[in-house]
Symmetry: C2
Subunit: 575 residues, 2 copies
């Protein structure tokens, strides 16, 4: 029986770390060979990390990436490897190298370049024009890259109709909620539509605003999901493809035979290797871990995002302003899961308006998380600043200026600790606050990474419940979860003084920001018109704050940041 053993190496590479990435790829090629794999596939642009952005405009960067690929090729013996890299002639290409026994046997150029959402591939790459079929270990295999497989009439179809029994599709596909299920459906459809086995390998890891979630998979020629890689961690998914089975299935598939007979010309065919390197080996039982539930998925994305951003930017320890509120509590819990309790410092900075409950809750949380904790009351600086501003502020009332002053003193203290001890400050604002501008620029927005900036407040509550459930105890104190949200910047302040209740606000934000719905449509969903208009106005006029915000993990279909690009000077009044 003719089989092909594929290995899908979902690894975590670092943008720009060409040497480190090459070494990791070489290491994993070795692991795959040890498992008797015939062809091992790595993610899109595995050599450079994804997305390299404007590093691609630097000629030396592209040259160095090719030198790194050559090093990988030289180390590839007794196995075929498919490796994402940047190819170059007069232009550059998002490419997959097919490496066999020390040599680069073929280079596939991505044909569909995404240029929407977080993607800017038309900025850099020229698109490829051919979809060859490679003979690998005696089997006809089509290789293509990420976006290519989302098109029903794209390379996968051309390659399958030209005879490819197996498609290897390499990806750097960023996570958002629910995308995993969407990908499984798409890959399954593509496989069954073309009577072809699709091997989908995705990157893992955090890169600035993006998290890649792994979750590689194999769908057989009937569209059945037959193997699945881990989510949010590195994994080598090995699967034995029954190539004979695919051939048999096609003989009995009238649609495939009819469509194939209609193909004129078709994809060029290229011999890479005639036979498997290894001996016949017993079937491996394919991995099929269950999918994480929707809230666990977000938790893991946030944890991986923090771990990689901190690690890849060269930090070890983070410092977080603990207010006793739910947002800073969840950020601290995520940081502990990401970095370990020894690498998380909590600071309580109470003001004259802080309730006793807030102070004790902050301390209680730190104890439960077992993190280092310090308290710096801000009153002396607040008093000094108010005194300094007294002449300028004469005859004015206590207002936003005085509220923000407190938040900015805290920001200054947090950054002082960051500068002094080399800790990265994490900010604690959620998506509901980022959307409405309910945050102080240079105050609570001060920090290097905005962990939950794409997490709506209502989901913050769910995440707290999830984390406590998993722990089997209240890591985040119940009093933190149940207290009414407040910035505590003036006496008896509540979020609901300025904002609609979060259960109402969050669906409006989702509809307006993520789905581009009109005000009329949102009102049609059952919300008060005046309230929707007020929320939309807040969202629009706070673009200037978001432009100066730290990056944070994208977990929704549209995050603030590179994913959503709006002018600051903007007089459009939406309807």
């Amino acid at each position: 029986m003719q089989t092909l053993r594929v290995g899908l190496a979902q690894i975590d590479t670092t943008v720009g770390d060409l040497d480190g990435n090459a070494s990791k790829i070489i290491d994993w090629i070795g692991r795959a060979r040890d498992l008797g794999v015939d062809v091992v596939a790595f993610p899109e642009l595995a050599v450079t990390g994804y997305p390299p952005e404007d590093l691609l405009l630097r000629r030396s960067f592209v040259e160095d990436n090719i030198a790194a690929l050559d090093r990988i090729a030289a180390a590839t013996k007794g196995i075929v490897a498919v490796v994402g890299f940047v190819d170059a002639d007069e232009d550059i290409y998002n490419a997959a190298a097919v490496i066999c026994d020390g040599k680069i046997a073929a280079r596939y150029h991505k044909r569909f370049l995404p240029n929407y959402g977080v993607f800017d591939e038309d900025r850099y790459f020229q698109r490829g024009s051919v979809s060859p079929v490679y003979v690998i270990a005696g089997v006809d295999v089509g290789v293509n890259v990420c976006e290519d497989i989302w098109y029903p009439d794209g390379p996968t179809r051309e390659q399958a109709l030209a005879g490819a029994e197996v498609i290897i599709n390499i990806n750097a596909s960023p996570y958002h909620r629910g995308k995993g299920a969407q990908r499984e459906t798409m890959v399954s459809t593509r496989a069954s539509d073309n009577a072809v086995v699709v091997c989908y390998v995705n990157a893992v890891g955090g890169q600035d605003e993006l998290v890649f979630d792994g979750h590689s998979m194999v769908c057989d020629e009937r569209g059945t999901l037959v193997a699945r890689g881990a989510q949010f961690r590195e994994d080598l998914l090995v699967y034995d493809i029954d190539v004979e089975g695919v051939k048999q299935a096609r003989l009995h598939d009238p649609r495939y035979r009819r469509e194939r007979s209609a193909v004129v010309g078709g994809s060029p065919k290229m011999r890479v290797s005639n036979s498997p390197f290894g001996d016949t080996k017993p079937f491996v039982s394919p991995a099929m871990p269950p999918l994480l539930d929707p809230v666990a998925e977000v938790w893991e994305a946030l944890v991986l995002g923090v771990r990689d951003y901190i690690g890849k930017t060269g930090f070890e320890t983070v410092v977080i302003s603990l207010s006793g509120g739910i947002d800073s509590s969840i950020v601290a819990a995520i940081a502990v899961d990401a970095l370990g309790a020894d690498h998380v410092v909590g600071v309580s900075m109470p003001s004259r308006f802080s309730s006793d409950g807030s102070k004790t809750d902050a301390q209680e949380l730190a104890e439960r998380l077992d993190i280092r904790f310090m308290t710096i009351p801000i009153e002396p600086a607040f008093e000094a600043m108010l005194g300094m501003l007294k002449p300028a502020f004469a005859d004015t009332q206590f207002g936003t200026a005085e509220e923000n002053l407190q938040a900015r003193i805290r920001g200054n203290l947090l950054m002082s600790l960051s500068n002094k001890f080399g800790w990265m400050a994490l900010t604690t604002g959620n998506k509901s606050e980022m959307a409405t501008g309910y945050a102080t620029l240079y105050g609570d927005m001060a920090g290097g990474f905005a962990v939950i900036k794409d997490v709506p407040k209502t989901l913050v509550w769910e995440l707290c419940g999830y984390r406590n459930r998993v722990a089997g105890r209240e890591i985040i104190p119940e009093s933190v979860i149940s207290k009414p949200p407040s910035a505590e910047l003036r006496p008896d302040q509540l979020d609901t003084d300025s904002l609609p209740p979060y259960e109402v606000l969050d669906p409006i934000i989702e509809a307006y920001v993520e789905e581009d719905r009109t005000i009329d449509e949102i009102v049609g969903m059952g919300y008060d018109a005046a309230l929707v208009e007020r929320a939309v106005k807040m969202i629009d006029r706070n673009e200037y704050k978001r432009r100066q915000a730290a990056p944070g993990v994208k977990i929704t279909p549209r995050a603030f940041g590179r994913d959503r690009r709006l002018p600051i000077a903007n007089r459009y009044r939406p309807r």
Copy 2:
């Protein structure tokens, strides 16, 4: 003699202000008609403002823009108007409407969509596929949009060879140093290569990071520049084209005749209007103002950028931290030119390390600019904060943390004034500082607009000299210009303690940031290798600061901001 009177209406529109833009366009159509213009052309996307960015993803925005165009069309009587707007069918297009006597007679779709530098047009638009020739007032005219004219074999060539005697090219082309001269050369070449009169109209005004510089022009069929619009201000450039002359010239141009005879198929021809609306009228003498000199050009760009950013975001007054140094001095002088002295407030915030000279220089500058001035010494807050941090900072030395603390107290005071009085804070960092990270995040980087963030320090000096020369007196005191640059955050600090001299640093920044040169190449320009490596390392590792910086006016070929997109987590070590 057959002539065509064209009007190039270089107007300043506001992104999203569909009603306001439409009203302005209608107003200027009236002005052109009053001058006997046959066809008046407005900039690219004049209806929406440029660039509308992700507003384009909102269906209602596109619909509202078409409603605004309909309003313009209804008001267009007795003249032909070419107006940039967003056209829509199943997709959307960067388009030019040709409006005649109340009706939209034709819609041209831009064929070449820029997707590099600051441009993201592939993110939004579908490209057009045809380059028609319109008969306007009896003359064959080709209309195309911005990028289209940069391609020698693009629409201009097709239209000219199909018989167009006149090309109207509508633009929103952002300014950078020297771009005006480059455009004049290109337009001249395009005109002479195709024996066609090119009428180039460009937008005017500031939009976030971009400034559009106007500088519309007409080049005749021999490539001679025959009319030029104002730079950096609105203008209606009127020119009488001698169409008979073009026809005669072509009869005697063997190259044009040969190429034309080789054309098969070619551009479709569409009748818009057979004859001019007005009577025969005497020739107007074409405007030809001299070009601004290179430093004046930058000054005007900065002034317009500030005026429009402040105005279009709904502010009236700005507040600036005056240190007595050259950067804050020049920013104040620019703000006064942009907004008037009544709308600029200077604040001196001396510390224990401020020299007497700095304090008096700040006050002296404010007096010379005749702006409101206040002094708030930061010592009380500095002392309070040091005291509050004493336990945490025990056994550490005075260092960066304590330096930044002072800058952040100033940032807090400035933002307090901003919040209290509704003034926008302007930041004062120059490009040399933004590049090397010689600035304090949330400190001197705190503010809404970073006026000189793309101006290298050496050019700051030139700008000061220029402004004083124009004024005929020392608006910026000589003592400010000649003192050695210092942040004054510790005793006897000088910029040169941390940075190479600016005359050395600035060319390195230009080579590395703007030209993507390798370290070897820069060393080859005659700079010390260790110094180049140190500068490059500073540039690379401060991306995180720039990501949180306020927007500012782009004046070089590559500015920090949307123009240069680099990962923060980035381990590439350039060579």
